[in-house]
């Protein structure tokens, strides 16, 4: 088949050519540390934060 016999790309086809910048692949791990109790001593009371990344503030409270 000669060059002239080939079907030409249409303007719509050219315009619809796909390009994209792929999102960054930064694989992450939370370091507010699931289940790690962070403790401060305050006399007889202990501040305990059983902080998980999803509940960081949710379980901050005083025990003891």
């Amino acid at each position: 088949m000669s060059f002239q016999d080939q079907a030409a790309f249409t303007a719509a086809e050219l315009d619809s050519q796909h390009t994209a910048e792929l999102p960054a692949r930064d694989l992450m791990i939370g370091i507010s540390i699931l289940g790690l109790p962070l403790v401060s001593l305050d006399g007889l009371a202990v501040n305990v934060n059983t902080a998980g990344p999803n509940w960081l503030f949710g379980s901050v409270g005083k025990v003891g």
Partner: protein
Amino acid sequence: MLPPSTSGPVSQSPPALADGTELLGKYEGSGRVEAPFLVRRADGRMLELSPLLYTVARYLDGRRSVDDIASVVSAETGRRLSGENVAYLVTEKLNPLRVLRGTPSTEERPAGAPILGLHLRFGVVPKGAVRFIAGLLRPLFVPVVVLLMLVALAATDTWLVLAGRVGASTSQLLYRPGWLLAVAGLTLVGGAFHELGHATASRYGGAQPGAIGAGVYLLWPVFYNDLNDSYRLGRAGRLRADLGGVYFNAVYAVMLFALYGATGYRPLLLVAALQHFVILQQFLPFVRLDGYYVVSDLAGVPDLFGRIRPLLAAVFLGRHATNSGWRDLRPRARSIVTAWILLTVPLLGAGVVFLIISTPHLLTIGAGVVRADWRLLIPAVRSHHVVTATLLAVQLLAVSLPVLGVSSALIRALLRLGSSADARPPGSAPVFGLGALIAILFVVGLGSLAVR
């Protein structure tokens, strides 16, 4: 007739790819109907191109004219392409991607980085060191070694459950600040080791991992590993890179258990047990933790969040025919992405509502902890109570970082609002609205604290 040009011509000389640009071939395992091709830009970012654009890009060598390129591409594709067509593709499609010689520097990150993405990032281990260590650890991904490690983990778990030592260690932890500090330190090391797992799996598959760093994602401090280069791997290789982190958590647990056997130091057992919770958490697919990337690679869709709007429009508004975000996916990819969306949207929505409702309360509690810790920190430092002072400092940091994270996201949202609409990522209006709402509540919360 070609569509009107939206940007000026690149130059009159034969077009060429910028130095450092790599053409990587087909994107293996893509969920798109027409599998795209991958290009690695000089700054390390990955781009996908349609087959025609990729074919044109292959001939951009700075010697061939647009007419020459048109001839070879026509012969290769079996479709007629004119020199004018090539000029159009180069100018309108490739030039905006900054892959052509003579286009502006690609050093800086693109303006479209998500507001609620990873930010406040800084490097911890440079990429050269990461690649060296990952090279040394590669044997850990030999299949027989993986099998042995998983068997060892199952055996240690069985012992931990039967012996019941973890519960006793946990109760003692509260009364031994030194142990607590050891647990915090070992857990941080475990986080870094997790990232090395991603890097090593990526290297094992043939990609080059980037630096390991730290930053804030949404509200939480995180370690991250730059795995952009793993796009070049096939689907199995990408999945191995995704799962390499949790596999290294398993290896870490086995190592800690062995160390406990040698030393009898109880905090080691506790950290080994904590690795299981870390692994479970990493499999959550709703935010960009490892589970998200597993779903993404199973579907072959790199940006699941970007598919939410088109797929909801297709499913609920019936906009299938005109919706390219829906039409261009294979049926299998559509099914996976749809299931992910139907789970993620309600769960994240509920999470955001909870966050909005509780923001003032959380800020009040956080401020109380900061005030209390600060009052204790100064005397602890003055009296040289190193362990207590370190613990207080760690807690202050843990409580402050989410506030810093929200503040940073707020500032970036405001800066972005001040920029032109063209600089914003498409479809970002709802995110800006949500960000503004959270920001208002955040400011109201801070204001109420100031009044008290």
